[in-house]
């Protein structure tokens, strides 16, 4: 039987059309591999033994998907990587899950994640432990690391994650797959458990740009259940197969020269920019001084919003409850036992930056800096079509190496938080491997609702670099 490892959905569809192995057959071997390999990989916390089937004939018909544990599916565990929701099962489908059902997807399972999306390595959780398919001593990234690992290892055709400050792009980079964070409001968040609502987005992880686009078309667009979705129409035509990048202006922040990053990341970024130029793009160096403020601003705002959003977990409505002598005591004991250290840290910092006497110095400053950063992007996009920067300052780091230093962990998001703060779409695309054999990536950021443009540029670059054809995660070499 043809191996499903590394195969894309459009590749499998073509194979089926040509009379080769059918998609259901391939998907069956994939499900068997999940049962066999997930105990070692740890991508899924819950695998559906008999994956819920759905209507056939849709564009994603028969392809199984990995879903992050903060995206609701009716009757599924939606535990958000937290003890406080360990017993919680959603009574309804999120809009994205409903749309995938309509498109014919099969649901492989619920994936490992950092608690409520707070982390960059999937280590901030007591529910599951995931390793990187390229090197099992390293993190798959976070917080959508389980989904990324599943897709990279060939245990799902594609996956959904959530990206608040980089939680789709970072694991996509660490695992050598494509990650798309859409424009804020482009994909409905109805049924996505809230972390920091002004930043939260649902993103897509897939093996290549074409598959990513196919999933984007299936899930994007306005939703009556989510008043924050954009009314702008999603272009449904296939991606334009550009011959080259003639006429495309690519901005490169000048500050990258002085920013801390691994040497291989820096060299790969230079090399990829050179390839963009060879393909006909015009490289435009641009000043973006506020890129240095992105992580502190993001830290203040995500903690502030998390402290507000997570107030609902008081033991009275959802999940686990530990009884106390009074309501207050029940609330405190439940939260104390239910939340892990990273969540507590952010709740405390969030309460701090929002409280009287401290708010002006931190929260208001962060809001103002965010607005200025959004203005910077607007200025930059009057000169260029997209920005090109690395997806992260490092490749996948060893498990456990950053757990003792929260700041070190937060700095993983240096390259991803600027687009998050401005609500902009961003695509992480694998480019090469470093000296250790770990994936490297380029991140393209575009103006609002430019997902199609990002994917078209990404497709040209993908064809040029041929990463997927040249490299495969060692995990994929399993039978």
């Amino acid at each position: 039987m043809t191996s499903f490892r590394g195969m894309t959905m459009h590749g499998a569809s073509l194979l089926q059309k040509e009379g080769g192995v059918s998609v259901p057959e391939l998907d069956k071997s994939m499900s068997a591999a999940v049962v066999r390999e997930n105990p070692d990989l740890g991508a899924f916390t819950h695998v559906f033994e008999n994956p819920p089937t759905s209507g056939s004939g849709g564009p994603l018909s028969g392809f199984s998907v990995a879903i992050k544990a903060n995206i609701a599916g009716c009757g599924w565990p939606t535990h958000c990587g937290s003890r406080i929701l360990a017993n919680y099962r959603s009574p309804y489908d999120s809009t994205v899950v409903a749309r995938l059902r309509d498109a014919g997807s099969r649901f492989q399972g619920v994936t490992t994640m950092d608690e409520f999306g707070m982390g960059s390595s999937c280590e901030n959780t007591s529910l599951g432990r995931v390793v990187n398919p390229w090197d099992s001593s390293r993190t798959a990234g976070g917080s959508s690391g389980g989904t990324a690992a599943a897709v990279a290892a060939g245990l799902a055709w594609f996956g959904l994650g959530s990206d608040t400050g980089g939680s789709v792009r970072l694991p996509a980079h660490f695992c050598g797959i494509v990650g798309l964070k859409p424009t804020w409001g482009r994909i409905s968040r109805f049924g996505l458990v809230a972390f920091a609502s002004s930043l939260d987005t649902i993103g897509i992880l897939a093996r290549d740009v074409t598959d990513t686009h196919q999933v984007f078309l299936a899930v994007a667009g306005a939703d009556a259940h989510d008043g924050t979705t954009l009314a702008a129409r999603v272009e449904t035509s296939p991606l334009t197969q550009l011959e080259n990048l003639q006429g495309v202006r690519v901005g490169v922040p000048e500050e990258l020269k002085s920013m801390e990053m691994e040497t291989d990341i820096r060299l790969d970024h230079l090399e990829t920019c050179r390839r963009l130029k060879e393909l006909g793009a015009t490289l435009v160096p641009l000043p973006f001084g506020r890129i240095h403020d992105a992580v502190p601003v993001y830290t203040v705002l995500n903690c502030a919003e998390a402290s507000s959003n997570l107030h609902r977990y008081d033991g009275s409505l959802f999940g686990v409850r530990r009884s106390g002598a009074s309501y207050q005591e029940t609330c405190r004991v439940t939260r104390n036992e239910g939340f892990g250290p990273e969540v507590k840290r952010r709740l405390l910092l969030g309460a701090h930056v929002l409280s009287s006497g401290y708010r002006d110095e931190s929260y208001l400053r962060a809001r103002a800096a965010r607005l200025e950063m959004q203005g910077d992007f607007q200025t930059m996009f009057s000169h260029v079509d997209v920005l090109a920067l690395p997806s992260a300052p490092t490749t996948a780091f060893p498990l456990g190496s950053r757990l003792d230093d929260p700041l070190d962990m937060y700095r993983s998001d240096t390259m991803t938080t600027p687009a998050s703060l401005a609500g902009l779409p961003a695509l992480s695309l694998p480019t090469n491997l470093d000296k250790m054999g770990l994936p490297l990536s380029l991140q393209l950021v575009g103006p609002p609702c430019s997902e199609g443009k990002l994917l078209e540029i990404g497709l040209v670059l993908e064809k040029e670099l041929r990463f997927r054809q040249r490299k495969e995660a060692p995990w994929q070499k399993s039978p």
């Binding site: 929701l85 959603s90 009314a231 999940g319 309460a351 701090h352 009287s356 809001r367 203005g375």
Partner: protein, 96 residues
Amino acid sequence: MDSKRLKELEQLAGLNLDPSERGRMLADLVCLEKFVARLPEVQGNSIPGHCSVHQDNPSPVPGEMDSSVVRENAPSLANGFFEIPPIATGGQGEPK
């Protein structure tokens, strides 16, 4: 940030840290407070159009989303960069 302030924050955040957790948490928060203090100063400490909503407790009713925080931060910019419709409270799905 000191242990007295940490106690206040525990009250605000609805937490009651274990004594064994407190030392480490305080050290982390001191470090994070310094980190976010690097933010650039805002002229006059006010933002045009900003509506001050928060008091000490960011979400006075446990279990309810404080939509004001979301509304304040949502990237529907005053400069017209985005065209995002007004935010409906509870627009983002949540466990029900």
